[in-house]
C-alpha cells in the first residue's frame, strides 16, 4: 500500500470519528508536516501551532478539500504550507526580510539558498529524480525564485525584494518555470 492509499484510508476512517486512525495518521505524517511548517515559519513553536491547527481541521472535517481532491500526504503538505504561510503573516505581518542584528551583522528571514539541502536531497531521492532533473534544467535565478515561493512561502514582491529584481520579472520567472517543469516531466514520463 503506498502513501496515497494509506493516508486516504486513514482519512476516511477519521471521517467516522475513528480516534485510532487519527493517531495512526499523526504518527505517520507529523514529522513530514513539521518539516514543511518549520521551513516556512523558521520557528519550531509556530510550526507546532500550525500542525495543531491542521490536525484539528482534519479531525473536525473542516480541511478545505474539494470533492474529488486526492487526499494524500502531498495534499496534507500543501494544506500545512498554506496554514504556515497564513499564520506567519498573521503573527508577523511586518517581519523584515533582511535586518541587522545587535552586532551589526546582516541577517535574513530564510537561510537556505538554492544550493541548500532540499535540492540535493531531491536529486538523491529516487521518486524525486525526475523533478530534480527538471529543476536543474531551469535557469538558476528562476529556479531560486520558485524555491523561495515553495519552501519559504515568500510572495512575489518579497522574492523581488530578496533577489533585487523587478516584480514583473519574478512573476514571469515563477510562471514560466512551472510550465517548463511540467513540459520537462511529461517528456521524461
Amino acid at each position: 500500500m503506498d502513501d496515497r492509499d494509506e493516508v486516504s484510508q486513514l482519512l476516511a476512517r477519521i471521517a467516522l470519528r475513528d480516534a485510532r486512525a487519527f493517531e495512526s495518521l499523526y504518527r505517520m505524517v507529523a514529522s513530514r508536516l513539521m518539516a514543511v511548517a518549520s521551513r516556512v515559519t523558521q520557528d519550531r513553536a509556530m510550526a507546532e501551532d500550525v500542525l495543531q491547527e491542521v490536525f484539528v481541521t482534519v479531525w473536525n472535517q473542516t480541511a478545505t478539500a474539494a470533492p474529488g481532491q486526492n487526499l494524500t500526504l502531498a495534499w496534507l503538505c500543501v494544506v500545512t504550507r498554506h496554514r504556515a504561510i497564513d499564520l506567519l503573516r498573521k503573527r508577523k505581518p511586518d517581519v523584515p526580510l533582511h535586518w541587522q542584528d545587535e552586532n551589526g551583522d546582516e541577517q535574513s528571514h530564510d537561510i537556505q539558498d538554492e544550493s541548500g539541502s532540499p535540492m540535493e536531497q531531491l536529486l538523491a531521492h529516487e521518486d524525486g529524480a525526475q523533478l530534480g532533473h527538471c529543476m536543474e534544467a531551469l535557469e538558476p535565478e528562476p529556479r531560486r525564485a520558485l524555491l523561495l515561493a515553495f519552501y519559504d512561502g515568500l510572495t512575489h514582491p518579497e522574492i523581488a525584494l530578496r533577489m533585487q529584481r523587478p516584480l514583473g520579472t519574478v512573476k514571469a520567472w515563477t510562471r514560466r518555470s512551472l510550465i517548463r517543469l511540467k513540459g520537462c516531466m511529461e517528456a521524461l514520463a
Binding site: R13, L51, T64, W75, S117, D127, F150, T174, L178, M185
Partner: protein, 239 residues
C-alpha cells in the same frame, strides 16, 4: 468568459496554488471555486503529485512529544477502549444534522400519515427502510427508501454534490460497531433507483447509518478512499 472555463488559466492557477505563489484572498477565492469545478480539482491533483517530491526532499523533523497531547485535548479525540456509544456517534456534527432532520421527518411522517389514514382508512403504510443523509456541510442531502422485502431502492437527491469525471457516488452501510460495508455505486441524479441483489431487509438490517463517498468508476473498494460526501441515519419504518 469565466477564467475557470479557460484551460490555460486553470493550469496556471492550479500550478500557482500548489507552488505557493497564489496567496491570501486569491488563494481563498480559488479554493471556493474549486469546490464546484472538477476541472480545477483535476489540475490541482496533477500539480500536487508533480511537486510532491519537493516536500519529501525536506528532512523530517519530529515535533515535541507534547504536541500530540495538545491535539487530542483540542479535539477530544483520545482513543477510548470501548467503541463510542450510539449517542456519541449521533452527536457528531454530520449525524446530528441528519438526526435533527430524521427527527423532523420522524415527527412529520406519522402526523401526516395519521391524517392520511383518517382520510383513507383502508390503506396501510408499507414496511420500509428509510435513510436520511446530510451533506458534509450538514444540509439535507439524500433521502433513501426501500420496501422491507423489495429489491429496489429509491433515492431522492435533495442537495447534489459535484461528481468529477471518472468518479461515482458510492453507497456504504455502517453497522452499530462502526464497521463499514460497501453496498455499491449510486446513480447520480435528482431522483434515481438502485437495484439490490438481495432484499432491503437483508441489506439494511445491520445498518444504523448510511454514507456515500466518491470512488473511481468501476472500482470495488473494500473501504472508502475519500471522506463521505453524504452521511446519516438509517432506520426501519414499521413496528
Amino acid at each position: 468568459m469565466n477564467w475557470y472555463r479557460n484551460p490555460s488559466a486553470i493550469e496556471q492557477l492550479a500550478a500557482a496554488y500548489v507552488a505557493g505563489t497564489l496567496q491570501g484572498r486569491a488563494r481563498r477565492r480559488f479554493e471556493a471555486v474549486m469546490q464546484r469545478q472538477p476541472a480545477l480539482v483535476a489540475a490541482v491533483n496533477d500539480w500536487t503529485a508533480r511537486l510532491a517530491p519537493l516536500h519529501h526532499a525536506l528532512p523530517a523533523q519530529a515535533p515535541s512529544t507534547a504536541l500530540w497531547s495538545r491535539i487530542t485535548k483540542a479535539t477530544d479525540s483520545a482513543p477510548r477502549v470501548a467503541a463510542p456509544s450510539w449517542w456519541q456517534r449521533l452527536l457528531a456534527p454530520v449525524p446530528a444534522g441528519a438526526l435533527a432532520l430524521g427527527l423532523m421527518v420522524g415527527a412529520l411522517v406519522p402526523t401526516l400519515w395519521q391524517a392520511h389514514v383518517a382520510y383513507q382508512k383502508d390503506m396501510e403504510l408499507p414496511d420500509s427502510y428509510v435513510g436520511v443523509l446530510a451533506t458534509a456541510q450538514g444540509q439535507p442531502g439524500l433521502i433513501i427508501s426501500s420496501l422491507r422485502r423489495g429489491k429496489v431502492v429509491d433515492i431522492k437527491q435533495v442537495t447534489p454534490v459535484p461528481v468529477p469525471p471518472g468518479q461515482t457516488l458510492y453507497l456504504w452501510r455502517i453497522d452499530k460497531e462502526g464497521a463499514v460495508a460497501a453496498l455499491g455505486p449510486l446513480p447520480n441524479g435528482k431522483w434515481t433507483h438502485l437495484t439490490l441483489s438481495e432484499t432491503a431487509e437483508q441489506v439494511f438490517f445491520p445498518a444504523v447509518e448510511l454514507a456515500v463517498s466518491l470512488e473511481p468508476v468501476g472500482a470495488q473498494p473494500g473501504a472508502p478512499t475519500q471522506p463521505f460526501v453524504y452521511r446519516g441515519l438509517c432506520g426501519k419504518l414499521w413496528r
